[in-house]
């Protein structure tokens, strides 16, 4: 091994011969190296002692067969959950963007809600887009949805039954950076209006006028209402984008935080770093990046939620187990009546969770059987649960083997 001066081939063989995972082996090498520096060398015997010590400790801390890992995870997440605040109204982590936190967020995650309460995305940028504020703004304008009120003033002329829009030239050029001529952009805006509202428009410079086919006061007002919802640029679901300069290892970069999310659309936009950008909707991640990415996202999100509340002493392994179970069948399943708990084989286990009567009734109608394999069923009927020593059966052979039976 080249990186360590004091680790001989013998010592390397001793370490590599163990069952330790890679990372622990590296730790052992580093410790041996440090000790060797300090005391001027480590003998093979000393190394063997250290290594077997580490290995024994490692084997001890592994989960035993028949350990109820699920129950332990449930309690290890549940107990800290009782300390979480029910409602948090402050703005988390990122400036000015409100994100659901604490218990509501945790519930949202394990319930696998289709859309989170406060969807958001973290959009990283590529190369020059990340370094140059103007370039970064180009990406902002193609993400943030632009509505008419951001572009100019809308007025209604009741006498002539017309809606008149006076577009702001500066805003037009700012939001369509590839165009130089404001009236050209106004043309695009007018076309969007025609497509969306089904009316004919008249355009003069940066002013646009249109009205209902038949003179009708009601329809005129309706057109104005509809006009407010038309999206001229960007992604409809994204209502706001915050741009922030952040420190990285290589210097500074601009990062975008969005209110509202449309993960799939954003990944395709030029300038967006499609390898780092994320969102807080696990279903969108599942759809665009697959089930394994969703698993990662569930772990990250639950961990962040707990950490935010100062409950970072919950071991990741518990959260990993939750994420594993939720993604086991290839798509995201919620924990609860409509997901994991509701799909259990055992009638009694399902009935013990929620809506007891319905489950018992359905089971009776369909003539279901319960094999009493699980923990809950056996607690209900008062048998030893199939955990740890409770699952070990003692079998005695009745065959005579010739050798004398032992005295005890």
């Amino acid at each position: 091994m080249t990186e360590y001066d004091h680790v001989t081939d013998d010592i390397e063989a001793i370490v590599e011969d163990t069952d330790l995972p890679r990372r622990l082996k590296e730790d052992v090498y580093e410790t041996l190296e440090a000790k060797a520096e300090e005391y001027g060398g480590v003998s093979n015997e000393q190394a063997t002692d250290i290594v077997t010590g580490v290995e024994n400790r490692y084997l001890e801390t592994r989960v035993d067969p028949l350990d109820p890992v699920g129950t332990v995870s449930a309690q290890s997440i549940g107990e800290p959950g009782t300390q979480m605040t029910m409602n948090t109204f402050h703005y988390a982590g990122v400036a000015e963007i409100d994100v659901t936190q604490g218990l509501p967020r945790l519930i949202e995650l394990v319930d696998a809600r289709k859309t989170p309460d406060t969807p958001m995305m973290t959009v990283f940028l590529e190369d020059e887009y990340a370094e140059n504020r103007e370039k970064a703004h180009e990406v902002v304008w193609s993400i943030e949805s632009t509505k008419i009120l951001a572009l100019g003033d809308v007025s209604t002329n009741v006498a002539d039954m017309l809606v008149r829009i006076d577009l702001n030239e500066e805003t037009l050029l700012e939001r369509w950076p590839t165009h130089d001529d404001p009236s050209e952009v106004a043309g695009i805006v007018a076309e969007t209006i025609e497509d969306a509202l089904g009316v004919d428009t008249r355009q003069a410079g940066t002013a646009i006028e249109f009205g209902p086919d038949q003179p009708s006061y009601r329809e005129l007002l309706q057109l104005v209402e509809q006009l407010r919802d038309v999206v001229f640029k960007g992604i409809e679901d994204v209502t706001r984008v915050v741009i922030r300069k952040e420190q990285t290892d290589e210097g500074e970069e601009f990062v975008l935080y969005t209110e509202g999310s449309a993960f799939g659309d954003v990944l395709d936009i030029e300038g967006v770093d499609a390898s780092r950008s994320t969102c807080n909707n696990i279903h969108e991640i599942h759809r665009n990046l697959g089930i394994e990415a969703a698993r990662e996202a569930i772990i990250n999100e639950t961990m962040d939620t707990l950490e935010e509340q100062g409950l970072d002493d919950v071991n990741v392994r518990h959260l990993m187990l939750v994420a594993d179970i939720m993604t086991n069948n290839g798509e995201i399943e919620s924990i609860g009546r409509h997901g994991i708990s509701g799909n259990k084989d055992s009638v009694l286990a399902r009935a013990a969770f929620e809506v007891t009567v319905n489950h018992l009734l359905d089971a009776a109608i369909h003539g279901e059987r319960d094999d009493l394999d699980g923990v809950i069923e056996n607690v209900i009927v008062g048998k030893p649960v199939s955990i740890g020593t409770g699952d070990v059966d003692l079998r005695m052979g009745s065959r005579v083997t010739g050798s004398k039976p032992a005295d005890d």
Binding site: R23, A274, T278, R287, N288, L289, I291, E292, I299, N329
Partner: protein, 76 residues
Amino acid sequence: MVDVSQHELVPDHVLLDDPEEVEEVLAEYNVKKTNLPKIKRTDPAVPDAAEVGDVIKIVRESRTADQAVVYRLVIS
């Protein structure tokens, strides 16, 4: 379309195209193919060559060990 496998949330997905390798995996865990966790054929991260019934080997950067290898069965 963006290259999904480049995203940092997506671990390596490798198709096990040798039936012997699949047998080895099943023997190691002492399970049937259908006991493995599943992955949809339509999953964006599944290699194009994979078909329903194939086994995908996934190598995750683990938080607790350095690499964790898991297997998923491709379903429709």
